[in-house]
Point group: C2
Chain length 341, copies 2
DNA sequence: CTGAAAGCGCTTACAG
DNA sequence: CTGAAAGCGCTTACAG
């Protein structure tokens, strides 16, 4: 509007040089003499010239932008991942444009289209809950735009994926309960259409099997979203059931917290009567009393790893389609909710 | 890389029309006949043509992008605000590029420069903690790019600001304690160099004054970041002090939660012995026992309001520099931590 | 209702 | 070491 921007051309005129030279000088091109570079840099500074990166993106067909699709930004896990993405991207000269799918397949498809048109250099995605097939992402691949999935990843096609080993993490958590002396161990699980919750259930069962502890199906409870309220309901079921658990592995921290609270109200001692382990290391796990033993799911690192892989693929010249699956190591954080003396 | 994109020109050739006509047809220009529009749309569909929005942005000098600078994405308040920004922006055809200043002034300045070069249509900012003056934002204004601040806003220049009334909210919270029968009311405050915490302290004092309750300076404690750990220390100070509070207004929910926990361990009953009120309505406020009375600080709405104002200013033709300050109405959410029968 | 032409601000292959 | 020229893919004022 007001003072229209200064362009390369303006600079060129002022310095009696060609725009080509200016462009190269500012880009630190080796063919340009140091003297010229200095003159150009100085004048650019003086006039407050800053390059129009849209023009540059357009010309180079490279936007230095990463598109990110998450179900919701306000879920702590995703906000941590995004934080990792932004951090790594920023340090490597990329910007991050975020979209929320709101778990809607329709919206996810719309966003994919926008991302193509916007010519992002790469895309990072956590699939929405409605998404069963990933055809809408194949177009992105066909355009040669690298694509990395994290957390909720496609099962129906080869792609770059950053995940944690849910099976192993659950195994670890369950084994920890066993080693703490638990004999009747329950599990609060999520929707079995979601791979990660299925894997956690399987890891749970495998640990029991390994240690010759019978799997009591009645102690395995299922929820839709692992919400706090569903956790309360599960806890009440445990209280009413004939077979009482003395240890519970919860597939996330919310349900673990609700179990702690319901049990304590019922005068059940945590961890003495029942030991509890959660999953995800949410901030609340360090605040709830007793502090919650949980699995560090490496959300921030997931964002970093996704971005690192993505940028590598963006900047690799060779066009061979490769896909990598990176599994991040999780960590069992032992706190009071499972520490028996 | 692979199949290079289809352009307007390609479409034009296929249909024996000029690129101008294709452009207008796809843009639903009134001068184009319906018949032509349909032909063009059909062919575009068939060939899978999608417009290159970088080219369009470059040509129109309009990127449909909003730049957002927050201190950190993984702070729940900001992730809620960003969620509101993304939602409103998406529904109005804008994309959101996010940056974390990490509370570093240097980085904030860098980001501002990137944003200028990226030709974003508008910018939404929550200032970093180091930022005392806003000269680096003035350039953005000079370029005619609308700018909206939220939460931590500049005090040294006129600008669009979305805030809540911290004074009034604190007044409300404190008055609620008074009405619940508290006589010796404490306050845990944040850094006094931050406007909002200063305002909360003042609102607190004003409510006491209004109700003729003496202000006991020894019951007003200061912290640097209102962290959970600092809250624990404050609670311990209260326990050791001669004058014991029977009500505490905490400037955020973390410190309120820590006070609840420390007091309960000391066998102090909440709310019977001491009533507690927090600030921000964090998820934990609904989980901690007793549930925490707090102020809903409208984070999501803040994001929406900021984006709404920003887009209005982007799309307004007239160039007169106006700046608006929008104060969102907060809400006292009364829960058990302050409910005495 | 449609088209020819210019141009947005860069970058880069080619030439010297 | 530097420059002239072409062009990225759109949009739009102008012309008919």
């Amino acid at each position: 509007m007001k003072n229209s921007r200064i362009t390369l051309k303006d600079l060129a005129k002022d310095l009696n040089l060609s725009p080509s030279t200016i462009s190269r000088a500012l880009g630190n091109h080796p063919a340009i003499s140091d003297a010229t570079k200095k003159r150009v840099q100085k004048m650019a500074e003086e006039l407050g010239f800053t390059p129009n990166s849209i023009a540059s993106s357009f010309r180079k067909k490279k936007t230095q932008t990463i598109g990110v699709i998450v179900p919701r930004i306000d879920i702590h896990f995703h906000s941590l991942v995004i934080s990792g993405i932004e951090e790594f991207a920023y340090n490597n000269g990329y910007n991050v444009t975020i979209f929320q799918s709101k778990d809607s397949l329709k919206r996810e498809k719309e966003i994919v289209k926008i991302l193509q048109n916007k010519m992002v250099d790469g895309v990072i995605v956590c699939l929405g809950i409605e998404t069963k097939t990933c055809d809408h992402f194949k177009k992105i691949n066909k355009l040669g735009i690298p694509l990395v999935f994290y957390d909720r990843v496609p099962t129906d096609f080869d792609a770059n994926k950053i995940i944690i080993n849910d099976f192993e993490s659950a195994y670890l958590a369950t084994e920890h309960l066993i080693k703490s002396g638990c004999k009747r161990i329950g599990h609060i699980s999520g929707s079995q259409t979601t791979t990660i919750f299925k894997a956690r259930l399987e890891g749970f069962k495998a640990a029991l099997k390994k240690h010759h502890i019978p799997i009591e199906e009645s102690l395995i409870l299922f929820t839709n979203n692992l919400s706090y309220d569903e956790g309360v309901k599960c806890a009440e079921k445990y209280l009413k059931s004939d077979l009482k658990p003395d240890g519970i592995f919860c597939a996330n921290d919310y349900t673990a917290v609700s179990v702690i609270q319901v049990f304590r109200k019922a005068e059940i001692k945590i961890p003495e009567d029942v030991a509890i382990v959660g999953f995800s290391n949410y901030p609340i796990s360090k605040i709830i009393e007793p502090h919650l033993t949980t699995i560090n799911d490496r959300a921030f690192q997931m964002g970093e790893a996704a971005t690192k892989l993505l940028i590598r693929q963006i900047e690799e010249k060779d066009d061979s389609i490769t896909s990598e699956i990176i599994t991040l190591k999780t960590e069992l954080i032992v706190r009071e909710s499972s520490t028996r003396n």
